[in-house]
Amino acid sequence: METMRERFVAVATELVDSDPRIALALADITLSQFAQAAARHPDRVINVGIREQLLIGVAGGLALAGLRPIVHSFPSFLVERPFEQVKLDICHQDVGAVLVSSGASYDMSAEGRTHQAPGDVALLDTLDGWTIQVPGHPDEAELLLRAAAARDDRVYLRLSDEANGAPQPIAPGHVLPVRTGRAGTVVAAGPMLQPVLDAVAGLDLTVLYAVTVRPFDADVLRRAVAAADTADVVLVEPYLAGTSNREVDEALLDLPHRVLGLGAGRAELRRYGTPAEHAAAHGLDPASLRERIAGFLRIRR
């Protein structure tokens, strides 16, 4: 199946071709895939080499000069390494940019910790004004990229090699109800939808699908909780466990509720292997999810 990253290359190339406001900023990662775009638009496809502080500084400068920068690298090098540039060269300058990462959480399982940044969403969440998009399918990634390119604000588009079997009819900014039940509510973010649906088969649960995780769509969550017998919520996120617990707590501030935040663990695994092995090690495979969700919601199996 086509990956989100492959779709990103195709769509970003088309955007650079069609919209003179779009500039693409790279730091060697994915450079060869953009060779044709760079040859056609040398002024707007900019590769700074392996210089990620400069990558974000250039993005801020391009935005100040009136362009719409799309900035791409791995999350470790797009969010973590140049974090102060993200804070100051983008946010503090009061400009926008589209940061597009690929290689989410443990996608690069065999590369080790240096190429894994499951804390990227939590880290960006310390800053103001970011829309954080976590697509679960290449079609969704395309829709979100096109929407982000047409705006002026700050967007983080988090692409993964993990994907759901089919796209969902998402609308940017909104949580999508996928199935309804009475024994509790499970919110699955991006590529966690498929393992969650596999995990809750036959259980009387509501499943909500979130691709826009910031700002968080509290309204849909509140409606889902109101229709269930319990206000208890399980979050299943493909990044650092608990990243969105606060959002659920704020959405349900006036309701007694419990929240279980599942996701990538904080402890370093210090293992290589496959993404599937890492998912299992973090308790995010369907069997582990079923046990943890049903246990928290006290569902008899």
Partner: protein, 246 residues
């Protein structure tokens, strides 16, 4: 294109800057030596930059970025003298209701292109602005970025210096105020860091207005341009002698 239209808008001259700075500090007066950046800023705004305080965001303008952000009193004084900000704002410097703080905020002050204060951000932003202006076909716009010799300790500067030199980004101008404040100094002089990356580089007396103007307006050579403006050492007990000026 190098005319400074602002000179007709206010009656302030170089000799008034000390009094304008005194409005912020409460001291009786300031000599030029009290601030390392004063003469560079004055020459840029008085003789070099194509800017109009009545339309500070005009397309085709030159851009000035105060990268180091520290000690902005001279900057605010020059902006007031040139009509970008009301001199009446100066006395409120750094108070809760004032737009003028210890580090400038571009969203609060007309004509201030970047918010700065954390060292090592201006050159990267300047590279992006210069690339953006090139993409938008604004070849007449120049981008000047003021950095300090100690600020160059930050590695982010060297990412920008090497890249800008490699691609020959000739609208980019760096002005290095060298007051010998870098803890470990720069062997061979600050200018060598730019020169070896392909920049045209000149070192001048940072108090000599004619020399500064000539350095800032040197014809572009298809590569970025660095002006090292040497002023008095920040610390009289500085460990190294002032760099000789050619």
């Amino acid at each position: 294109m190098l005319s400074m239209v602002t000179s007709q808008l206010t009656s302030y001259g170089y000799g008034d800057l000390g009094a304008l700075m005194a409005l912020m500090t409460g001291d009786e007066k300031h000599g030029p030596a009290a601030t390392s950046t004063l003469d560079v800023l004055w020459v840029l705004y008085d003789r070099v930059l194509n800017l109009d305080p009545r339309d500070p965001d005009a397309p085709g303008r030159d851009w000035f970025l105060l990268s180091k952000g520290h000690g902005p009193i001279a900057y605010y004084a020059v902006l007031a003298a040139k009509g970008f900000i009301d001199p009446g704002l100066l006395s409120g410097f750094a108070s809760f209701g004032s737009p003028l703080g210890y580090h400038p905020d571009r969203t609060l002050i007309p004509g201030v292109e970047i918010s700065s204060g954390s060292l090592g951000h201006g050159l990267g932003l300047a590279v992006g602005i210069a690339l953006g202006l090139r993409a938008r076909a604004r070849p007449e716009s120049r981008v000047f970025t003021l950095v300090g010799d100690a600020e160059l300790d930050e590695g982010s500067n060297h990412e920008a210096i090497a890249f800008a030199g490699a691609i020959g980004l000739d609208s980019l101008h760096a002005v290095v105020i060298d007051n010998a404040s870098a803890t470990y100094g720069w062997s061979g002089g600050v200018g060598t860091r730019f020169e070896r990356e392909g920049w045209s580089t000149v070192t001048v007396n940072g108090r000599d207005h004619d020399a500064l103007e000539a350095a800032f307006t040197a014809p572009r050579e298809g590569r970025p341009h660095a002006v090292v403006a040497v002023v008095e050492p920040k610390d009289s007990a500085a460990r190294r002698p002032p760099i000789s000026v050619r």
